[in-house]
Symmetry: D4
Subunit: 223 residues, 8 copies
């Protein structure tokens, strides 16, 4: 399916197991709607996803696709039947302001075939909150750990459990935060072994990676 402004990659599900996703930033509401429609037609039995919706795109899609599921905090829409979930991803966020990124990650995890469990506001300056939350993430198949400012949370969590862990730096902060650079560099230099990192505010990318881990383990384990 080809427009003069876009060429959808409809073979992607065959190659990678998951259909293409619509990145909503920099597209008009009509473009997002058209691409969602085309993807749904090509994959009628698997939910398709769009992210980074503008408020305008949110409204246009809500009106045009009443059966789609929109999330205003995550700025996402899923359209079509969700896949049966396998495995669990714990989505852990350091602060209140990291909420939208955590929401995007959780929606993505679910759309890519795993369960998402959210844990909120467990910053490292109150270390007891992390220790208390440990039982809630110690049995997950994968972790997504989200933090802005100094981005220290993945190092602490990564020292408590040996579960595959994806760190997401956010742009929350000011001044020498430089739009998320401080958290990004902090996570890339984590002293906890095995911490991997995605782009600033990229809840989606973390969700895809973690869901693929969780669903592979969960499917083999029959859960």
């Amino acid at each position: 399916m080809e427009h003069d402004w876009a060429t959808l990659d409809l073979h992607r599900a065959a190659r990678t197991g998951d259909p293409e996703v619509v990145y909503g930033a920099g597209k008009t509401p009509e473009q997002v709607l058209t691409l969602l429609h085309d993807l749904h037609e090509a994959h009628p039995d698997r939910a398709v996803l769009a992210t980074r919706l503008t408020p305008e795109a949110h409204d246009v899609i809500a009106a045009a696709l009443p059966e789609a599921t929109l999330d205003a905090v995550a700025r996402t829409v899923t359209y079509g039947p969700l896949p049966e979930p396998h495995g669990t991803v714990a989505v852990i966020a350091a602060g209140t302001s990291d909420g939208p990124v955590a929401a995007e990650a959780a929606v993505t995890v679910r759309a890519f075939g795993a369960r998402a469990e959210r844990i909120t506001d467990v910053g490292v300056a109150g270390i007891h909150r992390i220790l208390e939350a440990r039982p809630r993430f110690a049995d997950a198949d994968a972790l997504i750990v989200i933090a802005g400012m100094e981005g220290a949370l993945p190092s602490v969590v990564g020292g408590l459990v040996g579960i595959p862990l994806v760190a997401v730096p956010t742009s929350v902060g000011y001044g020498a935060n430089f739009g998320g650079l401080s958290a990004l560099l902090g996570m890339l230099n984590s002293c906890a072994p095995g911490v991997v990192v995605v782009n600033i505010d990229n809840g989606f990318g973390a969700g895809v990676h973690a869901a693929r881990i969780a669903r592979a383990v969960g499917a083999q384990a029959g859960r």
Copy 2:
């Protein structure tokens, strides 16, 4: 076990499933040797690992621990019985100069309990080499994709398969490469969904993450 210059974290294996690893850079050969010895004593039935060995440390350890396994390219030593492997990680490197990072990743994968399969010199300027190599990595449980310069290889590989993929930028290059920054930024901005990234030249970190994925899947699958 505590020295006045170090406090080993001997509980780590209990918390995370894997013992602490000795990071050899900035330590004297004697310090590395002492820490290896302490770790081995605490974990006699599980290989312990040291990375980033200087040539001097390599020689001291080879002489002092003849039963240890040293790898001069990877700059690593493993000491003690390797764990039984589960699952497979494909370690894919773009160019010849990325070899040491790939070797470090492969040694780490094995020491953390998975099998490593290496694929060498498949840069994106010869795209057919990647397509030809696809069967060799299409059944892996996790991928490590290593590249310097523009760091484009993970985007191409990540569009061919849906396996969890860790990208490792290397410092290979010159000028506006800025010590690996170009590959790092390229990988963080990959258009392939789900690509996650570690620090520049950090084959070890990628190996830990990928091995944890592969051994979890492999163990559930009984392979």
Copy 3:
């Protein structure tokens, strides 16, 4: 021709073969209109070009110069008879959001005396789309390859053909994209030999360079 705010370089066509171009950013609509008018008067038989038009300048010029050709996506205007084209430039863009830069490049190519052939939305995460498009660019005299995010497309295309290739990084992306820096550095470090680069979003500069190549070859070849 000299205003107290500008001194047009009317000798430029004599020196370089092409008249000066009006860079519309940071100029008032009236300034752009005046400069276009002066240039047209000095070069009545060769189209003159203005780029980076603001919406206000677009409207002022459309009203004042009804015989001019405006392109709202490219944000350009050409005024006067286009030169006879020689040779062909393929303008290849990685994603939908790179459209305006591709349009600016194509308009410039035509205004500088070559033909432009556009190929759209062939990102490296769907490598088959590039391979399928190869016949459409394999006979061009020069290539313009446009991409944001990790900017990997020129490396792949530059490994498929030996045609002179100009890479254009775009500011499409977010976070560690740093306004196009990731694509810029990626392209400067391309492992494909002979890739040259222009400023971020500079479709115009790529168009000038590529058109000069194509028209020189095409003119000698009599096409």
Copy 4:
């Protein structure tokens, strides 16, 4: 006292309570020795300090001033009677490689009139080590917290106690550590309130600040 290459600020002790300190980097051994001698002559009853000694300066001073106290790890020399100490500064370091910076801080604290208590190798990836060490720093008058890589330790310590805390980023790390930049930015963006920061590897500056706090409190408290 004035040389043609230096003008010592001998009034500084009168203005600020502490004599000038010799910064050894970029000076010849003879220059360091001369300045130490001049300072000692001006302040015979208060130890004077030189930092960042080269190995050559260390040897020259050891030979010339046998009654001086040299520390090869801290790269410092103190010369003259140490002031009576008041108050206590806990000097907490995340890893083995941060040792020289911690040693410089501790020597400085003592030379500026407070006691230094060192706590070693309590990185955030083994959070229990920090919690176990808490009683050793909970009664200090000021804290110096030293870490490289992601620089997360001050955030965790700063959430456990309300003591004035100075964070020292170190250049320990590699790749996207950028010579200590990651730890510096992490500490500047700490989510623990009241964390203040000095230059990378600047154990001296942290020592001066913390000693001034501790000795003021200690002196008032009669300890």
Copy 5:
């Protein structure tokens, strides 16, 4: 006390002596109001503080909590009885435009239990103004020195007195100021010993650190 978007750290006062503070940026007025209310309920006899209020949050809180004290320049609110003050912090600002940061620092100092004395507009290009102001800060227990542009004021003040000094870089300036980077780097590289630094525009952090020093000294001294 736990909301689905926030988990207040109500144990913090017990651990560190001071309750958690609400950082208003990136929160809705209602969220700020709710958190203030919860904190006040948990700490009825100690003022709680919120910073970085948006104008909207300012108005909502002024209407809902008429007994709270709002400061429009500092963008703060304190709610509940202020602690009895001990010790004094001098808050010194280089220029008029640094006023809001100085106000935030002063409000914080008072809310954390010390007195704040403000000194305004004593930039280094008029050095006599600093020398004349010396008596006003020479007896303080701690100093906060605030400057934008080249950030030189802490070096001059730090050479005049030996009081613990916290430097605050501000984003005041333009061009190669890079949003406060010039002042931040200047302060981190201060040639005056013992200068410590907080994030750009972080009057709050400086206030917490300085108040903890002043109140410790003041309490011991019985003032």
Copy 6:
């Protein structure tokens, strides 16, 4: 004269020969007006200057001080009798968009006691324009050379004459211009000997420096 938000440095004229100047950015129109009034009262026989006026400040001052001279392009106001000029400064700008910076420089030159001669739109891509303009600047006492983008003009002019030359980088450009960084670095690395540089867009600073040179030479020469 002291306000609670500002302390004017009224001794500056005695120390440096020129009164303080009001930097309008970040001040309210009323603050600018008050400071202008105070400065004028202290220096009734020498024009005082304010720069970086907002449009609002421009209107308030135009209404309140009808005898003041406002320049909407330069965003300046001078108030009081201009000093008798000595010597001449040539103000040379590369492009039309550099006009506001050139205007600010010219107004400052005149207010600081020298004559300003403006030369416009002589970019290096039309080198003949610079050669033709040489006679207009070859007899000046000082040069101000203004350029954005690559900032090459000072190198060319500085190779044509031996007059003291101040280069002003401007923020004109886009993409890898990084807000004027490219021009700033270009000018700092100029291969023409003796080129000195001010902050990005700082026409004022260049004007002060150049006027002081020109008026010293001109006064001695009796012109």
Copy 7:
């Protein structure tokens, strides 16, 4: 041809018209020799090229392949019969220190099938040298313009002729040159239309691009 450390891309000549080139940096002399040998065997009638030779590799190859042509300044070796040249590339360098980059570019141009004409030491601070040299490059089919420091030369040359122009920034300079960044940014922001840029010190890449232009035009023109 495949080694365990390298996989040569022997199809490249078929795809792009030119065989793979050996990048000597980071390879042992023996690896370079082996790859040269393999490439020559696969392309016996077309010279193969290696660049960035270390002095050790230079000596090993000189001894092993006496019929190869080595250039110690360019740090290159060509091995096998050079292709018949078509068209001409002028290689213009700003300063003496840019010599090695210019030499690498010239060797590459010749090995890729065009003629190279070198013009030396025509920096912009002596503009007459460029104007005098104009006849020597005005008839070339492509230009390579090499400069360090502020990198202004391409802007001047690009305003004198309309020939396709590749700019090469070099790392010549110090301080705020930042290893060639100033020249790189200057060239990317050139005000001359159509200037394209390669990586810092990348004479090879410029040579490939320019040779492909020149040989295409020259071949059509029968010269």
Copy 8:
């Protein structure tokens, strides 16, 4: 005079009043010697200058040109009769380590026809030293102010006198000094009006600019 590796600009003295200067970095001792010889031959009655001599070049020139004047600290050589001096430049350095840059500046000032007066080690942390030195620079015709670290000295000096002032940032410092970047940014953002800046460690450039000012004023004044 033209070598195949260099083209001396022998017309420069006619255009700018001063002959070309040999920049010694990156040149062989023999190249420096040859260029000095050529320049001296072209300008027998005016001293020629070479800077940034390596120790090897120093020795070669000392042996070959015994009548030349070498300065080992400044790393310079002057060859031929010095011009009669006019006017005076005060060269003020903040610290001992800034000595080589100050020496280069002073030698250049003298070679370009003015007198140099040096003032040493007057850092801003001992402000009284600057105030005491004021009489020594208050009558100079131009000032060169040299500082590393935070680079604050020009702001203080520039507030004390109204003499044209050139600031030279040096690379003295460590950590967040980033090779002189902190001092460079500090000086570019100086709050003292009229401060102009040269590249890091560029004593030569400052010397040229300041000498041209001083000799112009001094010549007119007949001193």
